[in-house]
């Protein structure tokens, strides 16, 4: 019995003339991810993508896991393929659904006949297959209004498909169709979630991380790499740039007023990230800021940091509560890594009483006590590249 995966496209189907671009991107992304698991035929026909393995011993759970993380897919299902012959369909349904029918109590059959040459009409298919299933699974009865399982039989151009239930896909639009943006990632809970959310809207990612040895350790950087590897399961591969940040932090500490420390530091981060972003073809920055979460994320503070860069800054978490952010981070499997307790650059030299309502002109005046240009230049020159797969 041959098993395949059928994919229903997400909001791509609403696109007009450039729909093909979106479909191509989705096919590219799918093929690249699937290549890590094995060999597959990936085809698109009648707004449905089908994935069929070349070898019989393919682990379908792994394929399912992989497909569930590709953006641009609204829903998908595992299905069994047979010839377009009613007896063969009935036979295959009983065999294929044996496992699924082990626990539920009620079911119904739906039929979709896009190949109108097939001699049975949809209601007739339902009757035939439903009756045969009832006979073979006497413990399960038909309930057309509220079934535990819905079996769908599709008669398509290339064959008949039998499937039970749809699995929700990752949603969103294919990564890469929205251009490229650069995420500032510290290692906390928020930035991986922000990265995931923007990748979901079709952005390809590049990451910038700030390291301040010996105030921060190699473990903090490893943690960020691990986080990005998990994000990459959704967003696809990316480049990560680690910026040497020690000198800047020491200089601010030495020369600027303590309560402006965090704001000035964040302004430096934005400027450096912007420069790296431009060099790498990015057109926006992404941060994990959530309004009012900490002193540096009040409206006034964000006004001051935003002013340091000229690119659009995406803050997908801006209106979310911590609890909501955590639930996403659990869903994408980054939470457990995020809570490992290593000091990161944001927690080095935190002022006792940071300014919650900083005034932009004062901040700039403080920052100008430093050789900003030189500091930024040295930091950018010292970046280290890590490829995240």
């Amino acid at each position: 019995m041959k098993e395949i995966i059928l994919i229903k496209l997400g909001e791509i189907v609403l696109k007009g003339l450039n729909r093909k671009n979106f479909e191509d991107a989705l096919m590219r992304n799918l093929k690249r991810r699937l290549a890590k698991i094995g060999e597959f035929h990936v085809q698109i026909a009648q707004s449905t993508i089908s994935i069929s393995p070349v070898h019989d011993d393919t682990d379908f759970d792994e394929v399912e896991d992989c497909v569930s993380k590709v953006f641009g897919i609204a829903a998908f299902s595992r299905a069994c393929v047979t010839e377009k012959d009613i007896d063969k369909i009935k036979q295959a349904a009983v065999e294929y659904l044996a496992d699924t029918f082990d626990t539920p109590k009620t079911f119904k059959v739906e039929a979709k006949r896009s190949d109108k040459k097939f001699p049975y009409k949809s209601p007739e298919i339902c009757e035939e297959v439903g009756g045969y299933l009832s006979d073979n699974f006497p413990n399960i009865s038909v309930d057309v209004h509220n079934p535990d399982v819905t079996v769908t039989v599709e008669i398509r151009d290339f064959g008949a498909y039998i499937r039970a239930g749809l699995i929700r896909g990752a949603g969103g639009i294919p990564v890469g169709t929205g251009g490229k943006a650069c995420v500032l990632i510290s290692g906390g809970i928020d930035s991986p979630v922000a990265s995931y959310m923007m990748a979901k809207r079709g952005l390809e990612l590049t990451a910038v991380h700030f390291a301040s040895p010996p105030y921060t350790s190699i473990r903090a950087e490893e943690k960020v790499i691990e986080l990005l590897q998990r994000v990459a399961k959704y967003s696809g591969r990316m480049k990560m740039f680690t910026v040497p940040f020690t000198e800047i932090q020491e200089q601010i500490r030495e020369k600027c007023k303590e309560d402006y420390f965090t704001i000035i530091m964040r302004r430096f981060m934005m400027e450096i990230a912007e420069e790296i972003a431009r060099k790498n073809g990015c057109h926006a920055l992404i941060t994990g800021e959530s309004l009012g979460q900490v002193a540096s994320q009040t409206l006034n503070a964000i006004e001051c940091t935003d002013n340091a860069c000229n690119m659009p800054v995406f803050r997908p978490l801006i209106g979310m509560d911590k609890e909501e952010i955590i639930s996403v981070s659990r869903k994408i499997d980054t939470f457990e890594v995020s809570i490992q307790p290593y000091e990161d650059c944001c927690t080095v030299f935190t002022p006792k009483h940071p300014k919650t309502k900083p005034v932009l002109s004062e901040v700039i005046a403080e920052q100008n006590k430093l050789d900003c240009k030189g500091l930024i230049q040295r930091a950018v020159e010292g970046v280290k590249l890590t490829n995240i797969e």
Partner: protein
């Protein structure tokens, strides 16, 4: 006289790769994985690399793998940990009468503490044994004395049907690396395995705990292994185990090789009139349990040891006691008292079996028979 080791279900010879890795860990990366400096960081990286190896091997997530000191600690942690976490939701535990003593004796302790423990003799009894207030179902994947393979997939389905909150623990000490066991696929919540059964060192084991499943620890005092198993990690043992897992041969190929050895051994033993083979042909081919009627297990064992051949009487862990597994199988006392267990590894060959059978025939002809 060549040494012939046929007691691989008791323990195995440590593979060369594991030995080398352990020396490297003890002499170079000897840091404490919890230390913040580079020495500690290196050690932690080694530790996490093994976690990844094991997770990949089980098709699990890294966070689902915990290191223990071996099978017995793993089984104790699983049984007491699961019961401790779920005791408010029920009082009933289901296991089989053929478990390893590390499970059986844990169950006996829980009975003393007031839990109701059901010991089933066959998996046909399982559906009636598991009820809504069952909090743990524990069974081994492969029996250590006979090689019987238990129907793990069926157990999960039965638990699901009863809507019980039960966690499902599988003692995979004899099965790990020998049959495909993917806990996620099989619906296993907790799986335990041991290093020294797969050519790794003694003193390391694996506990898989499904994400979302919760157990309480048996030991307290440290953040290691997410508090499930605190205490400085025995890094040389764990890394030795990692190498052992990495160097496990292709499962299908090795299973085929074991089938060959097993069939060869069976055929040869069948020719001896007073030999009774207790493992049936569906058992895992790594193990053959047989009785030489009339000769006490221990007598035979010591006779063979003089010939530099090493096998086990009944079960290594049931030393001196009548095997509860063979008893549960309904074997006569005569057969139980003369039961022997031969267990193979990838280092064995057909000529080892020739030597064994030759020695058994000699023993049969020379040793005094009991009535």
């Amino acid at each position: 006289m060549k040494e012939i080791y046929l007691d691989n279900s008791a323990t195995t010879k440590v593979c060369q790769q594991a030995v080398e890795k352990m020396i490297e860990i003890m002499t170079e990366h000897y840091g404490n994985p919890s230390s913040l400096h580079k020495k500690g960081y290196e050690a932690q990286k080694e530790l996490e690399a093994v976690r990844k190896t094991v997770a990949d091997f089980l098709s699990a997530e890294k966070e689902e793998i915990y290191f223990t000191s071996g099978g017995t600690e793993g089984n104790n942690t699983a049984v007491f940990g699961a019961v401790g976490a779920l005791k408010r939701r029920g009082n009933r535990i289901v296991t089989t009468s053929m478990e390893h003593s590390s499970v059986i004796e844990s169950m006996q302790k829980l009975e003393k503490d007031g839990f109701e423990v059901i010991y089933i003799n066959s998996f046909d009894e399982l559906a009636n044994a598991v009820t809504k207030d069952t909090i743990l179902v524990s069974t081994m994947a492969v029996n250590n004395e006979t090689g019987f393979i238990n129907p793990i997939e069926k157990v999960r389905k039965i638990i699901d049907k009863t809507n019980s909150p039960a966690l499902f623990h599988v003692d995979a000490v004899q099965a790990f690396g020998k049959i495909p066991l993917k806990p996620k696929k099989l619906g296993i919540d907790i799986l335990t395995a041991s290093s020294h059964k797969i050519h790794g060192p003694k003193g390391a084991g694996i506990l898989y705990l499904r994400k979302g499943a919760r157990i309480i620890p048996l030991h307290y005092g440290g953040e290691q292994e997410k508090k499930i198993r605190p205490g400085t990690e025995p890094l040389p043992n764990i890394c030795g185990m990692g190498e052992a897992v990495k160097n496990l041969p292709d499962m299908n190929k090795e299973l085929q090789f074991m089938h060959e050895l097993n069939t060869y051994c069976r055929e040869k033993l069948k020719d001896i009139s007073n030999v009774h083979i207790n493992s049936n042909e569906n058992c895992l081919p790594y193990i053959i349990n047989f009785s030489v009627e009339g000769i006490k297990s221990e007598t035979m064992l010591h006779y063979l040891e003089e010939k530099n051949i090493y096998i086990s009487s009944g079960s290594a862990c049931a030393k001196g006691k009548k095997s509860h597994v063979l008893t549960a199988m309904g074997l006569s006392d005569n057969l139980i008292n003369s039961a022997l267990r031969v267990s193979f590894s990838r280092y064995n060959s057909k000529s080892d079996i020739d030597e064994l059978v030759k020695a058994v025939i000699n023993a049969n002809n020379t040793l005094a028979k009991i009535k």
